[in-house]
């Protein structure tokens, strides 16, 4: 007797316009890459939302832990010299 599962979970990334980054849109269930692609197309691009699709098995995605956010992302806030606005340009300087 075949096992009745809901198949595997895949994450779907859609590129909304040629050249732009692929952005996470959601997930689908599928038994293989072909079905994942078909399901992604049917579920996430019914209104011309995309020009290209990536599907990735969800088990292959590793995510950072929100509890680590302070440690991971704080250092960029206290180094304001990484931002161009930190520098005072002489009056009249253009295109810089």
């Amino acid at each position: 007797m075949a096992t009745d599962t809901q198949l595997d979970l895949w994450e779907v990334f859609i590129q909304s316009k040629s050249g732009l980054p692929y952005i996470h849109s959601g997930s689908v269930h599928a038994s293989d890459v072909k079905m994942a692609m078909q399901n992604a197309r049917d579920i996430y691009t019914r209104r011309g939302e995309g020009t290209s699709i990536w599907v990735v098995p969800a088990k292959h995605i590793s995510a950072s832990n929100p509890d680590d956010n302070d440690m991971l992302f704080d250092p960029s806030n206290d180094k304001i010299y990484r931002h161009p606005t930190f520098y005072v340009m002489p009056e009249g300087a253009k295109n810089i």
Binding site: G19, Y81, R82, Y87, P90
Partner: protein, 314 residues
């Protein structure tokens, strides 16, 4: 694999303004051109860390040291964005590094010049990063998706680099006579090499044709160089720096500056390996790559160990 039909279809996609993604069909020549150009770009970011790294311990203030460290860290990051983007074309990091270290792949010739004093750090940020930005802004619209996206990210980060350089030059030009002379000396030494960064004139640039047809390059060497000249000369004049060219003038009709001819002999000599620092730059890269081998070996050993552990728990 050559496929007449696919190549025609590919070109029509390009002509249509579409971008190409890693898994799409592309002619072998397109792939090769991208690997060459993008890896040269990646190598330039990494080798470019050397002339500036030379000044971390001698930066004139803690503020200047922090900024310089942040800038050099960015350059390393830019190298990584680009290496990863080249790898989407089916070439490995190890191959790319080998091509650099054996001289098969080039990096921007500008980094074969030495950073002799603190004013050079100003000139590098303002002129070298300034020239790179003109090129990179244009490459944001390149036809290869991963390259284009890397460029968008890089451009966002580069503008701080140029402004910190111009700030150094401005500060020195407002300083003592000696400081002004140092800034002018750095300007004199970096001006022409910065103009050469855009490569040979269009008439002498053998690969430009394909690159423009495939929209890898969106503007030609000469067009980009002119943009840089036109925006940089007023910046120099504003802070009292002299352009090291007796013949430069503004053409009132076109609104563009014209210059003396560029010394291409010098350019070709440096590209061929005879610049002031070519050997030093590559030797340094090879030395630290070899000395870092144990880190890569340890990471591989760790990979084997964790794979075994997963096998046991699975």
């Amino acid at each position: 694999m050559h496929n007449e039909h696919s190549d025609t279809h590919f070109q029509s996609r390009i002509d249509n303004g579409e971008h190409i993604e890693a898994k799409d069909y592309m002619p072998e020549g397109y792939r090769k051109h991208l690997i060459r150009q993008m890896s040269q770009h990646a190598h330039s970011e990494v080798i470019g860390m050397q002339p500036e790294g030379n000044w971390i311990t001698r930066a004139p203030s803690l503020r200047a040291k922090q900024i310089l460290l942040a800038k050099i860290q960015d350059e390393g990051g830019h190298g990584l964005y680009l290496y990863s983007a080249v790898e989407t074309l089916g070439v490995s990091r190890a191959e790319l590094i080998e091509q650099l270290q054996t001289g098969k792949a080039k990096y921007s010739s500008i980094f074969n010049y030495p950073a002799l004093n603190w004013a050079d750090i100003g000139a590098i940020g303002w002129l070298v990063d300034g020239a790179a930005i003109v090129n990179q802004v244009s490459l944001q619209r390149t036809s290869y998706g991963p390259y284009s996206r890397a460029m968008v990210r890089i451009c966002k980060e580069e503008s701080f680099h140029q402004r910190q350089g111009y700030e150094i030059m401005t500060t020195m030009m407002r300083g003592t006579k000696d400081q002004q002379a140092m800034a002018q000396d750095a300007m004199n030494r970096w001006w022409w090499p910065a103009l050469m960064m855009f490569g040979p004139h269009d008439s002498d640039s053998p690969r430009s044709g394909d690159a423009v047809k495939w929209k890898i390059k969106r503007e030609t060497n000469d067009e980009l160089r002119q943009k840089f000249i036109d925006k940089t000369i007023p910046q120099a004049e504003l802070i009292g720096l002299t352009i090291p060219d007796k013949n430069f003038k503004l053409d009132e009709k076109t609104g563009h500056y014209t210059l003396s001819p560029i010394n291409w002999e010098e350019f070709h000599r440096v590209v061929a390996g005879h610049g002031p620092c070519n050997k030093q730059r590559l030797d340094h890269h090879i030395k630290y790559h070899q000395e870092g081998a144990w880190v890569r070996e340890a990471a591989e050993a760790y990979k084997v160990k964790t794979a075994k552990k997963e096998l046991v728990t699975a």
